[in-house]
């Protein structure tokens, strides 16, 4: 068996394509990013090595502070929403006796297939202060809760986080559903005999059995949240003012709008470090459980 699993030639053959592609097209550019974060460089000319000056400067930048805070808010909201609602939906659809489960299975995933432009455009229309669906609905219902949703420096980031959470909840849903499907039904049958209600059965069986999947979902939503960019880019342009900036947006602004490419790469480096730390923490906190059948 050891010779079978330790076949050096096979290992080399199996990992080589991935390693080469990844190193050349992702990792090497990342090294460039790190390298350039120590430069005063406009992205075009020669550039001057300035040591950690960019890092000192960035901690005094108001936008940087906003960006870090927004990244955390964003990550927290989409994690709670996507994993919470994603689980509930996946539990429901995995139940063979639920009526219309085929319909649900397709419909819950649908937002994911839409392009991000479409989704942002839709929610822009919903949240529009003057003509938006939400404010109109409130008028109809007679609640005096009319708001400028995306025009408010404190509220806008939550709205954007919601849009992202809603758009991609289908990913978590599909992953969890596939996971649940791979758990042998005997486990649930045993629980039924014990008289556990189906929801409780999921909490007792599904969640521990799928700890790997959950860990993965958690990494995906947290790093996705820290990385947020497109919703801001399309819906608010980082505004009003600078209130919906994230690190990626700050990087974009520095690299392509203000010609401080080196400074932008500093923001990018900090972002990568943030994501690494988050991933390591998740891995440490959720100890792996080996799943045995």
């Amino acid at each position: 068996m050891n010779r079978f699993f330790g076949n050096k030639k096979a290992i080399a053959l199996f990992i080589l394509p991935a390693m080469v592609l990844f190193t050349a097209l992702v990792f090497y550019p990342v090294l460039q990013v790190l390298f350039r974060s120590f430069y005063d460089w406009d992205g075009l000319g020669k550039g001057i090595f300035i040591g950690v000056d960019n890092y000192i400067k960035i901690f005094d930048d108001t936008i940087f502070k906003t960006a870090v805070k927004n990244g955390l808010i964003f990550a927290a909201i989409i994690t709670v929403y996507q994993i919470g609602i994603g689980s509930i939906l996946a539990f429901a659809v995995s139940n063979v006796r639920i009526k219309g489960r085929n319909f649900f299975r397709i419909v819950y995933f649908l937002p994911v297939v839409l392009s991000v432009t479409v989704v942002c455009q839709l929610w822009l229309n919903v949240f529009n202060t003057e003509f938006g669906l939400l404010n109109k609905l409130m008028e109809v219902v007679g609640i005096d809760f009319r708001q400028s949703w995306l025009d408010d420096r404190y509220k806008a980031i939550y709205v954007l986080a919601f849009v992202n959470a809603w758009h991609y909840v289908g990913y978590q849903f599909a992953l969890l559903l596939a996971g649940i499907k791979s758990i042998p039904s005997t486990y649930y049958e045993a629980a039924k005999i014990d008289g556990a209600s189906s929801f409780l059965a999921h909490i007792k069986i599904t969640i521990p059995m799928l700890s790997e999947t959950y860990k993965f979902c958690l990494v995906m939503s947290i790093t996705g949240g820290l990385n947020a960019f497109t919703q801001m880019y399309i819906m608010t342009g980082g505004g009003p003012g600078t209130s919906t900036y994230t690190l990626t947006f700050l990087m974009y602004r520095s690299a392509f709008q203000t010609y401080q490419y080196g400074y932008g790469m500093t923001a990018a480096t900090i972002l990568v470090i943030e994501c690494l730390v988050a991933t390591i923490l998740i891995n440490k906190l959720i100890a792996r459980k080996h799943i045995t059948y």
Binding site: G43, S148, G239, T242, Y252, Y259
Partner: protein, 453 residues
């Protein structure tokens, strides 16, 4: 696996069949894009505009990165291409449509050495590109192409950079920020056209009481919020944001601090619609066109659109003045800055590209004059050409008043310092939200201005 493969294959085949039917029609002849040897290039360049260039010569394709999205950009481009075909029958343009991405694409082209032969630039880009040698110095071509002679005397500032060199052939003239208003809405609410700040405050209060938005503005775009701030800055300092851009003034200085404070005050009073910072042009314009707003801020190119929508009900006004400085009445925001069609120094056909760039810029002016009711141009238009339709009354009025304008500033795309430009766009938008204070604005602006010193 077989199942998936089969399904995928079937999907692919069906789609391929559908597309091959359509796609084969628009295959571009790739052979045409292969570049001829340099000898031919020289010939073409020498042939100049004699237009009778030998038809047997190989075609030369130049790539061009240009805006091509709405009537104001499509009409001039199409016109220029048609004219080019007459004048330079063996030159073909391959258009790369400019992306709405704040220059990301063009900067990546520059970084990878893939700059198109001809590309549109603004001032901040010129400054960045000239330092790294990614933009051709056009000084010699101004003479050789005759562009210098075609240039309107008042537009020399658009061609020549502060450092004394020319980097791009301009086509747009010194354009202006105008404050449009709906005469019918003013009359229906019994409001006089405001001449002073106090009048303006009064107007805002009356309009708000009658559920009319006083000023419609597409504040999602930073350049227009910059213009609005500039309007207020010019009430005390006619050079407006230009002085901040040069670093000769700070946002905490008198005129600029006051501009921020007055703007904050008016926003609190309800100058702009709730949610204004998230309004795009379509939304803000229709708010004005449908009578939901009394005033509208935009460049003078809005004249045609507003006239089409509102007819005789629309006019433009001089910006209201502070009562302590009535001299500012004819100081306007807007103006011109170097920009236009630039040429890549790495182009295989540098001379030809420069010549074509100059040619196209001139044809843009013609097209804007003929079809876009726009006389504010960088180049003279050939005599005998008459606009397709007569200029709207607002344009006649503007033309008549041009000499009474005491000063102009710049649009945000004419600002020199990119850090200042971006910060001002963000911060002026911020000022239009309730609860953002002039004090916060001033701190951030001063930081940006000083960062460059």
């Amino acid at each position: 696996m077989k199942n998936y493969a089969k399904r995928l294959l079937a999907l692919l085949l069906v789609t391929l069949m559908v597309f091959s039917l359509v796609a084969c029609n628009d295959e571009v002849d790739d052979a045409a894009t292969t570049s001829p040897d340099t000898g031919t290039v020289a010939d073409v360049a020498d042939a100049d505009s004699d237009s009778n260039a030998d038809m047997t010569e190989e075609k030369i394709t130049l790539t061009i990165y240009a805006q091509y999205s709405d009537e104001d950009t499509k009409v001039p481009y199409d016109y220029a291409v048609a004219e080019l075909a007459k004048e330079y029958p063996n030159v073909e343009l391959e258009l790369i449509v400019q992306a709405q991405d704040d220059g990301l694409t063009i900067q990546t082209y520059a970084a990878t050495g893939d700059l198109p032969d001809i590309f549109q630039v603004g001032l901040a880009q010129i400054n960045a590109f000239k330092e790294s040698g990614n933009i051709l110095v056009l000084d010699d071509y101004v003479e050789s192409t005759g562009f210098g002679e075609a240039l309107v005397p008042s537009a020399t500032n658009l061609l020549w950079n502060e450092d004394g060199h020319a980097y791009a052939f301009p086509y747009a003239g010194n354009e202006l920020v105008l404050l449009f208003y709906n005469k019918a809405v003013f009359a229906a609410n019994g409001v006089e056209v405001p001449e002073t700040y106090e009048d303006l405050v009064n107007a805002i209060e009356v309009f708000n009481a009658n559920d009319i938005v006083p000023l419609s503005i597409f504040a999602k775009e930073g350049w227009i919020t910059t213009a609005l701030y500039d309007v207020f800055a010019t009430r005390m300092a006619p050079e407006g944001i230009v002085a901040l851009d040069n670093g000769t003034a700070l946002a905490s200085d008198g005129a600029y601090l006051e501009a921020a404070e007055r703007l904050e005050e008016l926003v609190d009073l309800g100058l702009v619609a709730e949610g204004a910072t998230n309004m795009n042009y379509d939304q803000a314009a229709s708010l004005f066109y449908e009578g939901g707003a009394a005033m509208f801020l935009n460049g003078q190119w809005e004249i045609q659109g507003s006239t089409d929508a509102l007819g005789d009900d629309v006019d433009w006004m001089w910006y209201p003045v502070y009562s302590e400085n009535s001299e500012a009445a004819h100081a306007l925001s807007g103006g011109g800055a170097p920009g236009g069609y630039a040429v890549s120094p790495y182009s295989e056909h540098v001379d030809l590209a420069a010549e074509v760039a100059a040619f196209i810029s001139q044809k843009y002016c013609e097209a804007k004059f003929l079809y876009r009711a726009n006389p504010l141009l960088a180049c003279k238009v050939a005599e005998g050409l008459e606009p397709e339709v007569a200029f709207p009354p607002m344009m006649e009025k503007l033309a008549a008043e041009l000499n009474n304008i005491t000063s102009t500033t710049v649009f945000s795309w004419g600002l020199n310092n990119p850090i200042f430009k971006v910060t001002l766009e963000e911060q002026s938008q911020f000022l239009l939200t309730r609860g953002y204070t002039a004090a916060e604005f001033v701190v951030e602006m001063d930081k940006a201005i000083e960062a460059d010193q």
